[in-house]
Every structure is written in structure tokens, then in C-alpha cells.
Symmetry: D2
Subunit: 293 residues, 4 copies
């Protein structure tokens, strides 16, 4: 198929390549002229046959919103926009409704795969109507992992269904990583077990905790046993926050995922803010020494 | 090799079978005469060549302690006891010291694999001296997964090193399961995503959260979409508690694993005990209605 | 002063009484004619001198929004609306902006005190301009606790500042109650300490944990030592959720308050939903028995 | 009464003073000759009438154990030892049994009050027999807060009952402090509310969160609005850890208290250890940048 692709960064660039390897024609647009195939969004749309299919792969929030706003001007009834970025699921209903005013279809698609997707394929979770999805299905089939029914799922007709599923996926990911990290810290800080990296490596076969994340962690531990070169600092990209917010909205207890999110917040503080107040109170009742900043 | 095996339950019985398939001679003893090869521990030891190797696979705590106590009477200098049960790591030093009084060696070995171990092999993490481990190595090689260096690791010379590693493995397992469970509850309780089992199934390839636990959960969800037939109740078998206790002892923060442990505790309460006090206080200050038991 | 008061429930009814005891003239309106002083909102406004001050004390969300919408129609430039309900702080900016279109002032005010406020006074935290606050100050002075500078605070000029402070107050309250509840459960479930109610009672003087919540809990424990008559079930009224959401938005770690919120969620589940998935996975890898629902 | 007092530090020194003000005769011993009344433990015991009562107020663990061991040598049948330190409750049964071999009685007593105890009195929670307690009752009456039945409670006959109650008290204290600290961090970091110290001050009357800890925090916030001079670092003194351990042993969920404990652990880490592993995994799957240490 022929498809427009907006956003050719780390993810989008690799996806263009994987689509082309599968024989599809990709017209890629990026603000960076060095990687862009065309000069403008309008030029990209001009090159597409009708009905046009445009895959948006730009940062969530304002960049995605404004890109879809521009595409609404450029596209026509029967065309399709796919939002493959990390948009918040609540944005999708707004974007779908806006595009529907001109008869333009909308599919939201959560994409997992990171830097490994080019070779191994991307896991795709999409929301929207069957009819809209059919228009982009050849691209889905090319992007997903080969030789498996896994890696591609229709999450339902509601706009945002795909991003909601991807959001929960990332929430789960937060707590899985935290699980390994807590266990590793305990093993690394006690002297009971020697050769912690090889203990983790041994877990890759036959155990209950075997996983792809474990494989990745083993590679890193073998290269730097105590991870001395890595600062204990973790960003978060939004999906973890939204997962906990959605849980709160629906009265779903989420102690482990929220703990994982808060652990990241703490890791980014120069000084542990709440502990200032703890220290102040301890000084107040017990005369416990205060460390000066 | 020839090896004695004490405890022929779900785990021990399958391990006897896997060892025999590999050509080893196993003399199994169990209190249940229907599965036991011999009438008594003494009869088992009598059948073993010298130096004797006896693998203990009975419940942790008193059963293991008393079994090792009896073996100390029956065995001789140069023999070896392997504790393959789920013993607490602090028990191992005591057992090793007791056996050492008679010159009997000791290896502790954490075993993972569950009901799948017979076919796929068991992951083994062991602690003790290289010399002691060498005596049981043929059995280790038969029990571990085939065709991989994974699944067998020497965790160090300290008695308990193997059980400590297995304990942390299980602690990690608690939080990984909690991660999937929290994500599933959110997906299952909101109406954004349809066909939740297939969403989980799709994650098995190409995503960051792919793992063996995910594979298992998919099988269960496909059989019972909302897990309606399963009560929300989870036991814990000790390792999760010990992991958090060890973390506390070493001042290692463990928010996600402890949250996972506490979630199991709550699931076993007929009535949520702490919430009685919350309800009482809310009634006290705000006149909020109390639900009567 | 003369003041209109909309909503004469448990809180509003007592506040009317406290204002009247202080010599103020209150025109109260409630949908329930048995407690209402007038037949309608319009009748209430008619009875007020110009500039009119109307205090809204109805449930947060739609009831407050629609009440303020009606008042916008009835009031005139220079009048003032005070929202003393438990509105979400983000609603206040919208209400303030809407009223400002007609030149009507707006003050948001978080009110604490519950059923004790009539006798002891209400703690008031308000947001808005000094000029607007001055119009309702006599009522503030009458409602607040007597003989103390505490219990009344201007949280800042932003609409929502008062409700934001009250929201955080309630978030803190959640974790304080959870603290006592966890400690009580441990004491009540172990047999180390006898006469747990008197232990709590003894803490009311001289200890670090003395507080009003403790006083309330002691009364309840003395009446029902194990709280046998109270179901372990706790509602939540919104502020706890909003506190955690605001924390997430601002990357503030909030492990204890969120844990307290999630504990309430769990207490309201007939069956522990997430634990179904835990039980399913445990059955999958270890053959652990599943409890049937 | 006449009483021996071992340990004249911050707590013991003030307790000696409060006992003397009440007319009691205190023979104090401390390793520091500048504060000690006598040269040795033996000299202290020599000065006491028979039956002798000795109050031990030294650090928990080895110092308390060895002091009680020495007293066992010096005291005689019918004498009494009171452990008023922060001993772990499991130590008390051992100490009681050891002293009982010589017919020496034992009472364990948790003491709360900190630097305020001298003037306001100490809250005392004690365990042991009524007969033993009667021997030290005059000192209890002098130490406890005046003019209230609160502040003194018999927690039961089991050795350790008093320290167990004090331990839980401190666990509750951890989560109460964390509650205020989390709420303060949110208020301090957002710009919605101005004058955060005065908001906290206003809560001291009429609100649900009023408490002594709040009073203390207000004093500190008024002196240093953002606590800029205080490092976000909090020690823990054992009771919090033991509380969570006891909870785990008895399958009592303790999410808020454990979260409070873990928050302190994190605050003491130079680099957030677990987050190194999180960062390593994120780099592995997504190419997310690693911060170098």
C-alpha cells in the first residue's frame, strides 16, 4: 500500500524502513529536512492516492493535536488518520470527532517495540472501526512481528481503545521493572550471594520470572556488575501516570504500579522533599539531629 | 549417579522421574508408602553407595529440620545432604553446621519449575562449597533444563546462598504477578477495551511485557474471560515474606514487592480488618454511616 | 450580616444554626421544603440586601455547578457567591470565570468540622480576592472556632486555593486514619497486648501520636473492643482521589496517601478482583489450588 | 521511693530530674562519670534498699542485654529490673527468663515523650505481672503526665507487651508523619496555595488532622517556610522495622506504615540503587538515555 508517515524519529524512521522492506510505498514527512521525503505535510498528502492513509508518529499532546489539525485541512472524506504515537486515550475521542466532521476516519494505535522493532516487528494495539482499520491493515501486517498471530490486536471500536491498552501495557511494564530492580538491589547489597549477574542469567530458563526484560537486564549486568556507571534516575513518559489516574477514576487498587511510578519521581529529586518535613518533626519531638542542606 | 530422595510429593515425585529418565538411580523415600521406594529413611541410606548423596525435598521448617536431624544420625563423614526445599536461608547455616559436626557436607538448592519441571527442566540455584556441589553435579545436570547454560547457578559458598537467591526470585515473582493483575483488573473493569484476553495474547510477541507468566495468564483468560470461576484469594508460601524481611534488615526499599505481599494478605480476610477502624473514625468525625457486620 | 445559604443538609443545617447563634440573619434554601426558609432560590435572593452574599453548600460536581449557574441568573454585579462544598479545585476557576462575566464575585472555601462544627466551630480555608473575602468575613468569623487565630486561613487569590488546601487536608486525613487502622489491626490480631482500647486511650496524653482522630477512635474502641459490629468497608468522597491525581500531575511521590486510598477501594470489593489473576497464574505454574467462586 | 537508674542520656537524664522533682530518691549510673551519681553499677545497687528496683534506660540490643546481665549478678531474689529503653519485644522474654532464674522480677516499659517529657510527663506502656509493676508504681506515677488517667497503661502480663505497644505506637507515628510530609510536599511544590505554613497553622483547630505532630510541624514551617535548611534525610530507630516485621509475621497488611519506612530508606541513599536497574532496562528496550554516575 501507499501510506504517509509523519514523524521520522527513532520510532518513525525505523517503521518507514520496515514498511519499505515489506514492499510498501512510504511518503515520510518530518520537520527535519535531512530525514524527510517531502518538504511539507501538504506535499506528502499530494503524493498519496485517494483515499489517503496517513500515520502520525509524533510526540503526544500538542504536537499530535496540531498535526492532526493540519491533516484535517489537507485530507478529504474517506481518508484515514492513524495516531501511532503515545497519545493519552482521552485525546483520541476528540481527534476522532474532529476528523469525523469532514468524514475522515481515525484509528488509534499503541505501538510497542522500541529499538528492536525494525528487526523483530512492532506489537500493535488499535482502536476504531473495522472499516477504518481495513484501510491500514497492510501496513499493520508489515509492521507486526512475522510468523505469529500475536503482536496485532483490535482492542474495540471506541477511539482510544488501542492507546488505552498500550497505556496499561506500560503501567504493567513499570511494575515489572520495579520488581526486578527491587530484587536486584537486595541481592546486590547483601553479601549472601556472589556473582549476581549470573544468578539473573540463570533465571532465563526454567523459572517463573523469565521474560524479555530479564534478558535485557542480564545484558546490562554482565557489562557492569553493580551498574556503577548508571545513575539511579528514571524518567517517566506519561503512560504510567495515566494508568494510575485511570485506576483511581475506576476505583481499581493499584499499589504496585503506583509504587513504581512514585519510585521514579523520588529518583529525580535532588533532595527528598517530603523527608525534610519528617526530619523537621523528628527534631521537634525528639531532638533528633537535623542534617543541614 | 545413585542418589537418595526424601519427599515424593508434587515436586519430588516429578524430580525422581526426571532423574531416572536421565539414567540415574534414585532411591526415594516418602512417609506415604504408596509412593515410597523404601520403608524408612534408614532403608534408603542403606541402599546408597558411599559416599551417600541424599536430596531432601520436604516442606520448609520443622519437616526439613527433623529430616536433616535424622539423616545426621544415619549418614557418615563424606556424605552429602542437599536441601532442595523452600527453606529459609537462615536455616541453612544451622543445618550445615550441625551436619559438619559429623563431617557431612551440605548444599542448599533453590528449585524453580513447578509442574512444568518434569518436561522442561528445573532451574537450580545452589549454595555451598565447590567440592560438595561436585558430588551432586550429575543430578543437577539431569534436573536442569537441557541445551542451555541457564537454569543452573552456583550462588556462592555460604550456606543459604541458593535459598537466598530463590527467595529473591520469588519476591520478584510476586510483584510481576501483581503487575499483570493490576493491569488486568483495570482493563477488565473499564469498557474501553473489548476482548481483553486477546489483548493480553497479543502482548506475547514484540512487547516489553512478554514473559512466561504472561503466557500462563493468557491460557487462563482464554478459558474464563473474566476469571469468574476463580475466587480472588491468594496464599503465600513464605519466600515473599522473607524477601521483605531481608529488605527491611538491609534498609532496601521494596515498595512494589511488599505491596504485592500485602495484597495477598488482604485477599484472605473475610472482613477487611483495618477498614473497621477507618469506618469507626469516619463515623466519629463526620457521622458517615457505618455498615453493620 | 445577612447571607443566603443554599443546601441545609447535615453540614449546611448546622452552619445556619451557628450563624444565627452569632446574630447573623440567614435565609436558607433547600430543595426539601421541611428545612427550607424559602420556596426557591429566587425567593432567597429576593430577601437579601444588595450586595447579596450567597453561600452554596451542596454536593460537589453537577449540583454545585447547576446551583451556581442558577445564581448567576439571579444575582447582579457586586454580589458574591461562596462555594463551601467539597468541589474539586479545578471547578472553581470555571465557576469564578462564569460569575465574573456578570461582575459577580466568587470565593471558594473548604470547610472542615463535620458533626462537631456546630459546637466547636468549623475550620475554613478560602481562596479568592481580599475584596471578595471581606464581604463574607463576618460569616467566616462566626463559623470558625472561637478564641483562636486558627481555623481560618486565606490560601491565596487563585480560585480553588481554598478547596486545594482542603483537598490536601483530606488526603493527609486518609493516611493518618490508615496509620491508626494498621496499628490497631496488628495489636488486635496478636495476643501480645491485652486491653487494646486502653492502650489507645493511654496514648492520648504525652505521646507523639496524640490527635483528635485518636480521641475519636478511643471512643469507638471502648464501645466495641474489636469493632465487631462494624463492617470493614470505607467509602471515599473524592478529595483523596484528587489529592493523588494532583500529586501525579506534579510528580510528587505519595506512597502512604495512595496506599490509604487503595485500601478503601479494596474494602469495597465483594471479591478481590486482581487476586483472581494472581490465583490463575499460581495455578498455571505451580498447580496451586484455585478457590472456586 | 528509691530507685536505681542506669543510663543518663537525653532521656534518662530528664527522667531522673522528673523523678527527683516528685520527691523520689534516684541513684543514677552512667558510663559517663560527669553525669553519673556513682562509680559503678555495683555501687548503685549497694545504695538501694532491699528489695531493689533498677530502671534500665540504655540503647536497645547489646547495651541493654549486657546491662541486664550484669544486674543479674548484682541483684537478689525479690528485686526488680525495669527495661524502659526501646528494646525489641522479643528480647524481653529472654531477659525476663534470665532474671527469673535468680528470682528477680522484670517489667518492660515503652516510654514516649522525647525532649518534652521532663515538663509534660512521659507516656508509659508496660508489660509484666501486677506484683512486679506494683514495686515501680510510684515511679510510674511520677513520670507519667499529671492530672489525667492517660499516659500509663498495663499492656498485659507477657514480657514484651509494653515494648510491643510502644513499637506499634512508633509504627503509627511513621505513617502519620509521612501523611503530613506528603501533603506538605504537594502544597509546597504547587503554586495554587500561598502561605503554606499558615494553612498548616490554621488546621490546628477545628479540623480532622489536628494533632501534636501538626503543632510541631507548624513551628518548624514558620521558622523556615520551605524547610530549605533541612536535608531530606530521615533515620529510623528500629521500631518501624519491627512493626512491619511483626505485621508480616501475622499476615497483617501494612501498606502505609511500610511505605513510610521505605521512604526513609530511600532518603538515605546517595544514589537510588534500584533505579539504576530501571534505567538499565529502559536503555535496553527503548534506547532511553542513561545518566552517567
Amino acid at each position: 500500500m501507499e501510506i504517509g508517515l509523519v514523524g521520522l524519529g527513532k520510532m518513525g524512521g525505523n517503521m518507514r524502513e520496515r514498511l519499505r522492506r515489506a514492499g510498501h510505498t512510504v511518503v515520510g514527512y518530518d520537520r527535519n529536512p535531512e530525514v524527510s521525503d517531502v518538504e511539507s505535510l501538504a506535499a506528502m498528502v499530494d503524493k498519496l492516492p485517494s483515499p489517503a492513509v496517513v500515520w502520525v508518529m509524533v510526540p503526544a499532546g500538542d504536537p499530535t493535536r496540531s498535526t492532526i489539525g493540519e491533516l484535517k485541512e489537507l485530507l478529504a472524506e474517506g481518508d484515514l488518520v492513524v495516531d501511532g504515537g503515545n497519545s493519552k486515550y482521552t485525546d483520541d475521542a476528540l481527534n476522532a470527532a474532529s476528523l469525523a466532521e469532514k468524514g475522515i476516519g481515525f484509528v488509534d494505535c499503541g505501538v510497542s517495540g522500541g529499538v528492536w522493532g525494525l528487526e523483530n516487528g512492532y506489537a500493535l494495539m488499535y482502536g476504531g472501526s473495522e472499516q477504518d482499520a481495513a484501510k491500514v491493515m497492510p501496513a499493520f501486517e508489515a509492521l507486526k512481528p512475522a510468523d505469529t498471530p500475536d503482536g496485532l490486536v483490535h482492542c474495540g471500536p471506541k477511539p482510544g481503545a488501542g492507546h488505552f491498552a498500550k497505556m496499561v501495557h506500560n503501567g504493567i511494564e513499570y511494575a515489572m521493572m520495579q520488581a526486578y530492580a527491587e530484587g536486584w538491589e537486595l541481592l546486590d547489597k547483601t553479601e549472601m550471594v556472589e556473582n549476581v549477574p549470573e544468578v539473573f542469567a540463570s533465571w532465563r530458563t526454567g523459572t517463573v520470572v523469565r521474560s524479555w526484560l530479564l534478558d535485557l537486564l542480564v545484558d546490562q549486568l554482565r557489562a557492569d556488575e553493580h551498574l556503577d556507571a548508571i545513575k539511579g534516575y528514571a524518567d517517566d513518559s506519561g503512560e504510567g501516570r495515566w494508568t494510575v489516574e485511570a485506576a483511581i477514576e475506576h476505583a481499581v487498587p493499584m499499589p504496585a504500579i503506583s509504587a513504581s511510578l512514585f519510585a521514579r519521581f523520588v529518583s529525580r529529586q535532588e533532595d527528598d522533599h517530603a523527608m525534610k518535613a519528617i526530619s523537621a518533626m523528628r527534631n521537634g519531638f525528639g531532638g533528633h539531629a537535623i542534617k543541614k542542606d
